[in-house]
Symmetry: C2
Subunit: 354 residues, 2 copies
Amino acid sequence: MLEDKTPQKTDIASLGEFGLIEHLTEHFKINHTSTVKAVGDDCAVLDANGLKTLITTDLLVEGVHFNLSYMPLKHLGYKAVMVNLSDVYAMNADASQITVSIALSNRFPLEAVEELYSGILLACEKYNIDLIGGDTTSSTTGLLISVTAIGHSDAKKITYRNTAKENDLLVVSGDLGAAYLGFQVLEREKQVFEVDPNNQPDLDAYTYLIERQLKPEARKDIVRILSDLDVVPTSMIDISDGLSSEIIHLCKQSKVGCNLYEEKIPLDPQVISVCEEFDLNSTTVALSGGEDYELLFTITQSDFDKIKGNPHLTVIGHMTDANSGMNLITRGANQSVPLTAQGWNALLDKDKEE
Amino acid sequence: MLEDKTPQKTDIASLGEFGLIEHLTEHFKINHTSTVKAVGDDCAVLDANGLKTLITTDLLVEGVHFNLSYMPLKHLGYKAVMVNLSDVYAMNADASQITVSIALSNRFPLEAVEELYSGILLACEKYNIDLIGGDTTSSTTGLLISVTAIGHSDAKKITYRNTAKENDLLVVSGDLGAAYLGFQVLEREKQVFEVDPNNQPDLDAYTYLIERQLKPEARKDIVRILSDLDVVPTSMIDISDGLSSEIIHLCKQSKVGCNLYEEKIPLDPQVISVCEEFDLNSTTVALSGGEDYELLFTITQSDFDKIKGNPHLTVIGHMTDANSGMNLITRGANQSVPLTAQGWNALLDKDKEE
């Protein structure tokens, strides 16, 4: 177990709750003038300064959202923050603060919690986030992490899911499917390790995929790029469950349809080659894989020239009237296939069935 | 088990995550104009309107913070909200929004989650709180609830823990010790029930104590009373761990000492009689019992006339210089005994040892 590899153990109970929080948070700096009061009182106090305040929260459960046998605790801490920041960026807003609550069983020594917080700290430093509070408690089994992120934005820039319009262009950042394949690679290596613990895996061909799974990055840069390009999306969502599921959310909430072009879906070369190795369809992986934490948004056609040629952004389709439905236009044959909401779990089940 | 008593069961998985959230939140109304966007997007959006925004979060874990064999799920939902609102009121602020995340194992049917949310809804309606978001996920064992509360206040009214001054008066709302005794009564009845399930307990003599344990009320009214009396406390904290522990927090963070007068500690008559029945010292119960969710605060001596005679408020001591230490002045003998931080768990352990 990764959390047990440090030889020196400290009993968390010996610190007490306040001692533990003080210990875990001592390296966090407050960077925002809006953070009037952070850890150390009943509440954190923020000065919104006339701007809109945004709040989002996610709960990650061991055995459900992560497996500590191949997810190092530092990566887990980092990812728990990313998942939440991604939700703030998906509103076209800036994230500025987080609270972190953890529940952990007594099998975790202090060093394990430090490792977890080192990942949270790294995320906070890299993304300029203030940790402003939280709660630390014991659990009867396993580890739980609850993160709440707070962001701010000008009212006129905030972008919702239900405001896409017919004829808008559908745009995605980065590339898709890699995080899911990274998970598949790690699962396979775990099984190989269980059979032969002396086997040294050569993971060079999978570095991008594994990094996308273990250390996803929320697309703060896209919010800045859109601002620099003077583009306010007409709707936006982040891709946590898979492209297909997120497109359906945008369409249903906005009451529009969509044509998604299979040949336009951005895929990394490693995704294409590893899909061949695993005998998986790369389009299925991109549509249903999830955990990519890319941003999916719509823009008016008049904004196309502003984003054209940007290496981070790909136009993958356009919105239609609701009656036309949500369709994938296949490569080559140009057939129209209705999109279905298959999340990550659906894909897993399907793999098992095959 | 209380969560299994409803004959009709619905599988949560059949609803899907979004269906479940939609189902659970359909009865919640949005009351604040500051709530621009609640459940249904990546983030909730609040307009702070130039006021300070306050955030607090608490994580409640089955088997650690609550026992479902005598805590009905509706009460649990209510209490989970109270615990957080109490933290906001302890800043002398108004609470206006919450997010609620839950993780639950497959032993909970939909009806159980509905019961939990009915308590959350009741709390939201009674305290005028908007539910603005959250996360619902599965757990491998047991139930977890993570609540984040958001409040607002004028900057000049926000009251911290570290600003008590020498000679300030120490004031507490309501009365103390009842929640702990309620827990003792419930524990005893549970043991009686295990021996003789046909025994019908007569709990009439304990109604106040049980209500204080199962359905605590956060003191929103005290914030309003203080405002009406034109009193801004010099420091404030809520009593979750016991009077002694909270006084020590105020003193240490404010760098002052304190004299607490045993004879001034407000006790309900039921607390006094049940302490006799259980052979417990009522002062020990008030000092270390915890879970009272009353407010403990300091005021300048010049504000004494404003609060004098208010039935909700009791002056229990005064702050001294730090070198004098934190002391309990005993009843009758007028002896000075140093206060020690004994939480609820410490008291339980002590009971076991005796």
